[in-house]
């Protein structure tokens, strides 16, 4: 198996937050959704991957190379889209290319102009005058013009309207269709990932909750719902993130625990969002 990202036991301690033993890997050619509530440690992990901050422990390999030792080699083939743009706001779309192209061996001006026109970016407009969606597309155009093999997206959709979000998904689907490129997509707007993601890594308060295929995640849990009387004590113990009110209860349950449920209890396949909400609510969740 050929992995673009391989993270083992990654740790980072801050005064008020710590990332504990995060491990996951992303095979070449796939999209991984990197999911967790705000403050779960997604951005910290991405900053560690990019060596923008020092890790306390663990190991990060990108394209099979150490992310610190071979940082510059790796960064030739990595591109990042952040939720806010990081180009000088006075630059025009045209100047962005001029300023950045010399850094990348694989930069193609033809590709850049192709993407700029297919994304409908006005060449003479300044970065600061672009809409939120256009700024994101500009970052994507830069990423794709040097044919980055790994595209990292850090909360790219948080300020986008539904149309722009849909466009993004379309662009990403097209980008990985040659099987050579991979995407790590960090977000708390999980609906974006529901269809497109192949793998999901779910972290909660600095801890890894799940990493693996999306299908397996969705098969491993069920949402269960029932009336107030159906909630027995042994059942209560098994439910993750129980919500209770006068008319009934709902919560998440591992598929392995589903055998002895009474018939009155309704079971449903969860969405990633429901899983996320339930695990962040679970009791004994330190942090």
């Amino acid at each position: 198996m050929n992995n673009v990202i391989e993270i083992k036991n990654l740790c980072k301690n801050y005064k008020d937050f710590s990332l504990n033993n995060i491990s996951f890997s992303l095979p070449t050619g796939y999209i991984m959704g990197f999911v967790g509530q705000n403050g779960a440690g997604k951005t910290t992990t991405i900053r560690l991957i990019l060596n923008m901050t020092d890790r306390t422990g663990g190991d990060i390999k990108i394209f099979g190379m150490d992310n610190i030792k071979d940082e510059q080699k790796i960064k030739q083939d990595v591109a990042v889209v952040f939720d806010d743009i990081y180009f000088v706001k006075n630059w025009t779309v045209y100047e962005v290319e001029k300023a950045l192209k010399s850094f990348y061996v694989n930069w193609s001006s033809t590709l850049y102009s192709q993407y700029v026109s297919s994304f409908h970016l006005p060449v003479d407009k300044k970065v600061k005058d672009l809409s939120h969606g256009m700024k994101m597309k500009l970052m994507l155009a830069v990423a794709m013009s040097h044919e980055a093999k790994l595209l990292i997206l850090d909360e790219p959709t948080s300020g986008l309207d539904p149309v722009a979000r849909d466009e993004l998904l379309e662009i990403l689907s097209a980008y990985i269709s040659d099987g050579q490129k991979s995407i790590l997509f960090s977000t708390h707007i999980v609906s974006d990932l529901e269809k497109i993601a192949d793998y999901i890594t779910l972290i909660d308060k600095g801890n890894l909750f799940y990493t693996g295929t999306k299908d397996y995640l969705l098969e491993s849990f069920f949402v269960i719902k029932g009336g107030p009387d159906d909630l027995t004590n042994p059942l209560r113990e098994k439910i993750i993130g129980l919500t209770k009110n006068n008319t009934g209860f709902s919560g998440l349950m591992p598929a392995s625990e589903m055998k002895h449920l009474s018939k009155e209890i309704i079971t449903e396949t969860p969405s990633i969002e429901e899983i996320l909400v339930c695990i962040s609510k679970r009791e004994g969740n330190h942090g």
Binding site: R47, T53, K73, D84, I85, Y86, N90, L100, F103
Partner: protein
Amino acid sequence: MGNVLKSIRLDNYILKAYYKAFIVVYVIAIIIGIIAKIPALTVAIVVVITAPFIGTYFSVYEKNNLSKLYGILPLGKFEVVIGRYLYALFLSIINGIVSGILAYIISLFLNKGMDRLTFITYLSASFLYFCLFIAVQFPIYFKYAFSKVYIFSNLPFYLVFVIGAYILNKTDILKSLSQIIQYFTSHQNMIWVTGIGLGLILLIISCPLSYLIYKKNEL
């Protein structure tokens, strides 16, 4: 070396939009040079103002999230730091040359001819001042956000003027100074050597310091 050049080029692109501020600087410097009838003053003013101008790089950096850009680019931290110092140096040299030519034209205009000693003194002193400014400010800006420290980091240079004014009022200090001045008038080449040499030494000390600070910094 390639990456250092790229780093310098990027600095140039980042500050490009602000270069037009120099038009104002040049106009003022020329007017003062003409009024004071000292063409070399034009050079000194331009070179001295180049220093805080380069400080605006760090302001642009902060306002435009450039820490993220630098986090992504395939560019080492050492290349970034040394590139910044070289960029500052280049900018001061280019400004020195352009304003030097202007000063020469002014001197022709004033029918005065360029006084070599004055010219060397003003140029060397302003270059030394420029280097001191950069050498003190860069490590501070590599460490702290521009908006938080910029008033504080300018303080030493206000002090330079206060101390200068104080010295000029004390005749005994002036007396000992006059010995130094005499030395320099008889060894004019030493003015070059002292000004430029001392300036470069300051930069050479400051650069690794900035690197150590920047390396530890989180982007």
